[in-house]
Symmetry: C2
Subunit: 192 residues, 2 copies
Amino acid sequence: METSRVKPGLNGVEGQKEATQAAGKPLGLVGEALRAFALALTLVAAVVMGLDKQTTTVPFQVVPTLPPLQVAVTAKWSHSSAFKYFVVANALVCIYSALSLLASLLTSARKKNLSLAVPIAIGDLIMVAVLFSTIGASMDFGLLGMHGNSHLRWNKVCNVYGKFCEKAMVAVVLVFFGLVVLAIISLHKRSK
Amino acid sequence: METSRVKPGLNGVEGQKEATQAAGKPLGLVGEALRAFALALTLVAAVVMGLDKQTTTVPFQVVPTLPPLQVAVTAKWSHSSAFKYFVVANALVCIYSALSLLASLLTSARKKNLSLAVPIAIGDLIMVAVLFSTIGASMDFGLLGMHGNSHLRWNKVCNVYGKFCEKAMVAVVLVFFGLVVLAIISLHKRSK
């Protein structure tokens, strides 16, 4: 009944070996491809949002007896805190993805353990968190833009800035896909 | 003297055994305490936000020549999509924390592998994601409430609903701490 006794040394070596493999190249070539994909998605999302601008004209009644003036108004991503955060957060995730991809490629090339398991795991989780918070903020702003808030007398604006709202939505959807990719990378090690 | 001996299990499957132990009780008693803490924080946050309501009076000018009427206005969490999402998300995280705590306790008590590593890892990540998105949405709504958006002619409202905004902020801070706890639980297994 003593069969379950573990051989001295084996346990430690096994664990270390497993940890090393997981640290060096968690997903191998697939992981690198996924990181590159996350980089591309967040980059495109940041660019789409960063270039999002629409100028349109709205009628503006100066004197009740005269016809309304047509006033040019502009919507721009930088007019909203949520969208500014969106661009900054996506740029940050791009840089992180590029760095983690580089680290992953270096580790693969040298077949060495660079002990990056912990920082990369923390980094992945922070990036997922940052992207989720930016999606939350942008979605809230988008919903307010689409429907307004009658209790606070904030009028909807997407009826005026239709194209602007559409492009912002495209950017949010892109980030959502980027998030799915990052979540896959982030979860993979645990499911082994 | 034989009572404390570990029963011979699936011998030779070292990796699986280790994974099983990590799955069943990733942090042991500390993990269970952390899950209970996350549960408490998100529960209090949901309650604080769910009870957040303020009625105040604002001057309302009906006729320019007469003094303004004092009109009672009410701010309530359910007037905002972001705050509704906040309450629902926190309730969800509470239920999840309770279930995962229960699973963790059962696993510890029976010293059995319930094969919950993957669902719990995925669940933890989803909860972190949900809470981050709700923080993003609530922060965006809070910032709009505090500063308004002059480009969209959305007036700030926290000067009128001061207490309402303060309580909402308290709820967001509570969730932030809940998130830190969940992130610690979520990251722990990788850092081993």
